[in-house]
């Protein structure tokens, strides 16, 4: 397997590198996407789907954010951010031309190469679609190497559906099954209503030869895993992306510990059978 891309400047892992905002897109009322380019003279930014960066907002703080762009385009670094607190709200106010600090890429990746030859089921909740998007790009770019491709997505309301145009585009492909559900419908929504776990099984897949990748709130992931297990997908074929508080991303600050794992270094993507026992322990 190809080794994972590692942080550019290994000598000083705590120092951010300035990147300029090329473009900002407001995806939803509280979610936006930034395209970043290194300031002059920097090398292209290689990453694997599922990896994340620490993004620094000058003087405000630094937060872990997954890379949501296309791994085949190392010239543009793309992040999709939901503004929820001090740092992410300050980032939401950033315009084209402004500069952000970037450290990374960090962490483990979705096993897109290892699962070639099998059906792939991707299940996302909310902004959890962003960390899965690079995997979708990779699979679509190498479509012939995979079996069936199923993308299941749950959002709170129709107005919270992230990457809607892209979901529609993928959905129109004959080789990809896409289904979307919302927790609460508003007028004009004719799609599914209910939790994303209810969609498991749609699109069809061969449970003995399926790789599942899940990203969303822990409760959503727990029920999704249950539904996949019920359909015969075993835990070593399921990957999840975990979220923990992170201050360093290099295994020094201790904040992201999850039992004996450092989510920043050993994760965020874990093969589920490896963390299964811990996953069920409350408040670990």
């Amino acid at each position: 397997m190809t080794p994972l891309p590692a942080i550019a400047d290994a000598a000083e892992p705590m120092v951010p590198i300035p990147f300029r905002i090329e473009r900002t897109v407001k995806n939803l009322s509280d979610t936006f996407t930034v395209d970043l380019r290194p300031e002059e003279g920097r090398k292209p930014f290689h990453f694997a789907p599922g990896q994340f960066n620490m993004l620094y907002q000058f003087g405000v703080g630094e937060v872990p954010i997954s890379i949501s762009g296309d791994p085949q385009d190392p010239e543009t670094l793309v992040h999709t951010i939901r503004a929820v607190g001090a740092v992410t709200q300050a980032m939401a106010g950033m315009k084209r031309g402004a500069v952000m600090g970037v450290r990374g890429p960090f962490g483990s990746a979705w096993p897109v190469e290892a699962v070639e030859g099998s059906d792939v089921v991707l299940v996302a909740g909310g902004v959890g679609l962003a960390p899965l998007r690079p995997a979708i790009y990779h699979i679509l770019a190498n479509r012939a190497r995979y079996g069936r491709l199923v993308i299941l997505y749950g959002a709170r309301t129709p107005r919270d559906i992230l990457f809607r145009a892209e979901l529609e585009k993928w959905s129109s492909r004959l080789d990809t099954f896409v289904d979307v559900t919302v927790d609460r419908a508003s007028g004009g929504w004719h799609g599914n209503v209910g939790v994303v776990t209810k969609l498991i099984g749609r699109g069809g897949f061969d449970p003995d030869n399926t790789a599942a990748m899940i990203c969303g709130p822990e409760t959503m992931m727990r029920f999704t895993i249950q539904a996949l297990n019920d359909r015969g997908v075993s835990n070593e074929r399921i990957h999840v992306s975990m979220e923990r508080n992170m201050k360093c991303a290099v295994g020094f600050c201790g904040h992201c510990q999850f039992g004996g794992q450092f989510v920043c270094r050993d994760g965020p993507v874990f093969r589920f059978d490896r963390i299964e026992e811990m996953f069920l322990v409350r408040e670990l």
């Binding site: 000083e12 290099v250 600050c253």
Partner: protein
């Protein structure tokens, strides 16, 4: 040219003047010599310029939630146990600036703080604290990315260990196989030998640097009697140790993450985080970003943190470890169990500080034993 391998087994004897010149030579070499010094109510680490700065005849009383300095040690310079601070505060300071950034219009540049050139000589490091350094080396001195500041300070440091002549009231290093004898990880080790008419130190080099240092001070070869007396002193310390960690704590903890016992501990635990602060291996930190008044200069500081705070595990929507029970469990399970998985060694060294400095006297050895005994009842 072939370099002669230093004879690290070679033992010699130095007297108080020899100890004085040992400190002097270290200072001449540019080291800041750091040793425990008696303050009003505790042994605290600080710079020493000579043996006159070392505490004479001071002992300590330690027990769960109890610490007191008492006289009674006669002329002894090292008859007290571990004080509240570990040496980590020098290798990995409580607050440290990581970098400064300067704004230029929309952009900014980072001015990295220059690498540490601190050169410390630690005098009076006990075996448990040697183990603590070994443990922290595994945390910070890692391939491919170590912590550059820690690694630089550690490489520059000179370690003078002291073999313990008295077991502290909360020590349990024997059961952690870390003490009371300093086996490795030092440059020089000392055993204090006191008679009616004599006050000397059996000195042993543990590294090439240690050999070179000892060669520069006045000493004589140790006699067989002196060597066996030193051995007897350390054996006596081991035998008089009052506390013991259960065997196989690693797996006992791993099996009991959902024990009812956590609620019982939580009834006593104040989640104050004292145990993490005094623990010589706890390494957790947070970062703080600050700006100057004009907003043109921003800095990032790294500060010690504790898994007992609610913020520690905060993610949008709430903290992961809300209950005190979950936070106590994180601490003890990390020390005794998860640490093995992360670094291949226990995070507990048996120094007993967490027992002494817990305001309500929660005892890590007792809690581990209770969990194990609870299994028998099943």
């Amino acid at each position: 040219m072939t370099s002669r391998h230093p004879n690290t087994q070679h033992k010699s004897v130095i007297d108080a003047d020899g100890l004085q010149s040992l400190i002097g030579v270290l200072r001449d070499e540019g080291y800041q010599v750091i040793a425990p010094r008696a303050s009003d109510d505790a042994m605290v680490l600080g710079q020493v310029n000579g043996i006159e700065d070392l505490p004479v005849g001071v002992r300590d009383e330690q027990d769960g939630g109890h610490y007191r300095l008492v006289p009674g040690g006669g002329r002894a310079l090292f008859e007290y146990g571990p004080g509240p601070q570990g040496w980590k505060r020098y290798l990995y300071p409580p607050e440290e600036r990581l970098w400064r950034a300067r704004r230029h219009g929309e952009s900014f540049t980072i001015e990295e703080d220059s690498q540490s050139t601190d050169k410390y000589a630690f005098l009076g490091v006990r075996a448990c604290d040697l183990r603590a350094m070994e443990v922290q080396d595994k945390v910070f001195d890692r391939e491919p990315q170590g912590d550059p500041r820690y690694v630089a300070r550690r490489k520059n440091a000179f370690v003078v260990a002291v073999n313990c002549a008295r077991a502290g009231g909360t020590c349990f290093c024997v059961s952690m196989a870390s003490g009371p004898r300093a086996k490795d990880g030092f440059d020089v080790s000392l055993t204090e030998l006191i008679d009616d008419d004599r006050h000397v130190f059996l000195a042993e080099a543990g590294s090439k640097k240690g050999v070179e240092l000892l060669e520069r001070i006045d000493r004589r070869p140790a006699s067989d009697t002196e060597m066996s007396r030193a051995d007897a002193i350390v054996s006596q310390t081991a035998e008089s140790m009052g506390r013991e960690m259960i065997a196989d704590a690693e797996h006992v903890l791993a099996r009991n993450l959902e024990s009812d016992h956590w609620e019982t501990v939580a009834d006593r635990c104040l989640t104050c985080g004292n145990c993490t602060l005094v623990c010589p291996t706890c390494f957790c930190t947070t970062v703080e970003d600050v700006t100057d008044l004009s907003g043109a200069i921003a800095e990032r500081w790294r500060k010690w943190d504790s898994c007992y705070s609610m913020d520690f595990s905060y993610i949008h929507g709430g903290s992961i470890r809300r209950e005190g029970a979950a936070r106590y469990r994180q601490w003890i399970a990390h020390k005794l169990s998860f640490w093995h998985e992360q670094f291949g060694i226990s995070g507990c060294v048996g120094c007993g500080r967490c027992i002494t400095w817990c305001p309500v006297g929660i005892d890590i050895t007792e809690e581990a034993r209770t969990l194990r005994d609870g299994e028998k009842d099943l």
